[in-house]
């Protein structure tokens, strides 16, 4: 499966996407959009508001989801190329980048993350700090109390 096929398949699970490109000063500029797949060109037609100084060139597409409790996270990204076409913009995916969502992604993140973390510590010549469970437990207690008081006021 090539990048276009992977992106167009995953895109169906989201109602919109975020397109990132660069402006004339080289800063990232991002807009939410509803990409329209164009199978003939293996690309996505995207609408970008005027006046942002968007430049054709390397670009990124992100789709992500979380629920109201900031959970159920899922996402994917795509590297690609943004170009002018028919007076509008066309995003051509060149690589599919898996993100969050599902057991496989979770295992990949934890196994890879742990390995990279120890590599980082070695490169920086630092010891890992102790986990401050006292602070975490106090924050947990405060959060529970805060949520409880909001519920009581609501009822």
């Amino acid at each position: 499966m090539n990048a276009w096929q992977a992106v167009s398949r995953e895109l169906r699970q989201y109602d919109s996407a975020v397109l990132a490109t660069r402006d004339a000063e080289g800063y990232p500029v991002t807009v939410r959009c509803v990409p329209a797949p164009d199978a003939d060109r293996a690309a996505l037609v995207v609408r970008i508001p005027d006046g942002l100084g968007v430049q054709a060139g390397p670009a990124w597409l992100l789709c992500h989801f979380h629920d109201r409790q900031f959970w159920g996270l899922r996402s994917f990204g795509s590297r690609g190329w943004l170009e002018r076409a028919d007076g509008g913009w066309l995003f051509r995916p060149t690589a599919f980048v898996p993100g969050m969502g599902g057991v496989v992604a979770m295992v990949r993140m934890f196994v890879g993350g742990r390995r990279r973390a120890y590599r980082y510590l070695a490169a920086q010549h630092v010891e890992p700090p102790d986990i401050r469970w006292d602070l975490i437990n106090e924050a947990k207690a405060r959060a529970k109390e805060h949520v409880r008081s909001i519920r009581e006021h609501a009822t």
């Binding site: 660069r22 800063y27 990232p28 991002t30 629920d67 409790q69 996402s75 993350g113 805060h146």
Partner: protein, 176 residues
């Protein structure tokens, strides 16, 4: 380091209150850094505005440090607030903040993140409380790397917003 929930992004930068509400209430923003080849790379993250220093704090685990590596090479970044899920806001504006970031070397001392920010995180992601509670000790230790964080600070440079999240409308803008 402490957060002050009553002091608003809007008051600090002179933008409309609705823009301040977005920064305060949204659960995530889409955070863009620049890869070595110049491609913007964007992933969702949870930002904390620090009114005292007029900047955002974003943290990332040292095991997921690519955005910090990108910033150490090129500090130009963008934050888009465009997903209102969980915020409780109705028809909020889209807010785009472009800015300059730095990512400190080493590992941030955990106490500098602060109890108030940790509390806010638990309030917004209550599953986190449950997860910490149910994970057995040895498994929890395998996840210790996730708590070793790098601090990223973003100083806003240009703020744009689209009223009602309508990109067909003219946007408002403040250049800092």
């Amino acid at each position: 380091m402490s957060t002050n929930r009553t002091q608003d992004f809007a008051a600090v930068f002179g933008v409309p209150p609705a823009v301040g509400a977005v920064v305060r209430e949204f659960r995530s923003c889409e955070f863009s850094t620049l890869a070595r080849d110049g491609t913007p790379v964007t992933w969702p993250t949870m930002p904390f505005f620090d009114p005292e220093h007029r900047r955002f704090l974003i943290t990332t685990s040292i095991g997921l440090a690519q955005k910090a590596f990108n910033i150490r090479r090129d500090g130009r970044v963008a934050m888009l607030f465009s997903n209102p899920t969980g915020s409780g806001l109705v028809s909020p504006p889209f807010v785009l903040v472009q800015g300059d970031a730095d990512a400190a070397e080493g590992v941030a001392p955990p106490e500098e993140f602060g109890i108030e920010r940790t509390q806010l995180l638990f309030e917004r992601q209550p599953v986190g409380i449950t997860m910490i509670g149910i994970l057995p000790g040895p498994v929890r230790r395998l996840a210790d790397w996730y708590s070793w964080r790098i601090f990223i600070h973003v100083r806003p440079r240009r703020i744009r917003w689209w009223p009602d999240g309508d990109l067909e409308q003219p946007y408002g803008e403040v250049v800092v």
